[in-house]
Amino acid sequence: MCCTADVSYDDRMGSAERKAIELQVINKACQGVTVESSNSEPALEMGSDTGREWKFSELIADPGVRDRWEKVRRYFFLRESTYDMTHRCNIRCDGCYYYEGDKQHAEEVGDPEAWRALMQAEKARGITYVVLAGAEPSLVPELLHVCHAEMPLGAIATNGLRKIPAGVGYKIHISVWGNDQSSLRVRNAKNMLARQIENYSGDPRAVFVYTFTPQNIGEVEQVTQLLEQHGCRITFNIFSAPVGYTGELRHTPLSLRQTRRAMLTLLERYPDTVLFSPYSAVAHTHHLGLHDLYGCSYPRRNPSTDIGLGRSFRQYRTDLHWDRAAACCVPDTDCADCRHYAAGSAVVTARLFRHATDPDTFNAWLDYVDTYLAVWVTGYAKGPNLCKVPVPPPGFDLF
């Protein structure tokens, strides 16, 4: 059985030592993972200390933890919304979210003054952070300049084939779907990684976002090495199927486990290049999706308009309109399969209260938030992970 192990403990061991041993055993057990064993569920849970109730003041009593808490809470003012910029793209990828559903047919508003007015209106209703996405924002640089001038914090999701002007000071998320052979197959683009690196090597705005599919798990180390050689940073995403998608990119329980192991291995081997945490790996490779684990708070799944994302989040189409029923960070994703890095950044982060149960779980949450901020906020530097081992999401098993 995959990832099942008998572990004996020395009574004198602390919980962190025990978990480190458990992790080694799990990694070793997973090395021999086969398709035939994919239906096996692990018997081992690496739960945190839940033997007593911890006060919040105790959880932040350690100076290092308190500093991290104070560091991340300074960003609680972030209120995001997302915007499709254009219906054009310079490549066409298998499984692309933008070209699912109706949003691809929306009229394209290319008038910079219309975008300026939208940004000003967004600011007036409390939005402090913008995510500029579909289909390919680098094709409309004049709009990016306008948005940045009005709203200084944000991120752009791009395929990285066309360099975004230096004056646009947003974080730039460059999508990577494997090595260049895989990109040619899935995205119909030649020399993709080489061109992305040429555009963004050494650019402090850039974070390469490696989207794991069942097919490209074995390529991620090669890509990470290459990015490290060129002074680039990488974080991880999980392919989450669009509604109705039946292609080969949809994850299986086996591929999720393999992905988790790859993430943890790379985190250990390339700590200066990989922006991630052990808990990020757990949250995004669990057999349950983010909604089942944490309860998605985007309007698409959350009817409340009183507070939080349900109140403030909007996803604008290229016609500058939005639809509450479709509003989430990546519309047209199958919610049951959603493990998007973008979704987790809001959904996991929002669940502060339920993670404040014990030191490991709280520290794991802090690592998750620290990672999210380093990936999404210009100038935010990630600190070392406080919790070095995977802990389960509150109320669930590790896998």
């Binding site: 809470r73 409390g126 009183d306 507070i307 994302l309 929002a350 209260f353």
Partner: protein, 89 residues
């Protein structure tokens, strides 16, 4: 632990927690309007409310369920919520 059983005193105590945690200026516990909308007029969001909930859990040993946050957007219902749970326990 001494815990207020008087609702008015509890409102003052929770107001002080909010002032400290949210670093509010130009307001004291005594001048804090218990009916001011914390979201619309003070500008707090769900993360701030979660932080307040944790500090209140420490002080009163009362858990504020995440699902209840939308109902707790002014000081008065927060105080009522805590007071009611303490009275029931």
């Amino acid at each position: 632990m001494a815990v207020e059983t008087d609702l008015d005193q509890m409102i003052l105590s929770i107001a002080q927690i909010m002032i400290d945690e949210l670093k509010l200026e130009d307001v004291t516990a005594e001048t804090f309007d218990p009916d001011i909308d914390l979201v619309d007029e003070v500008g707090i969001d769900s993360m701030d409310l979660a932080t307040i909930a944790l500090v209140l859990r420490d002080k009163y040993a009362v858990r504020i369920d995440e699902d209840d946050y939308p109902k707790l957007t002014t000081l008065r219902p927060i105080s009522d919520y805590i007071h009611r749970k303490l009275s029931a326990s």
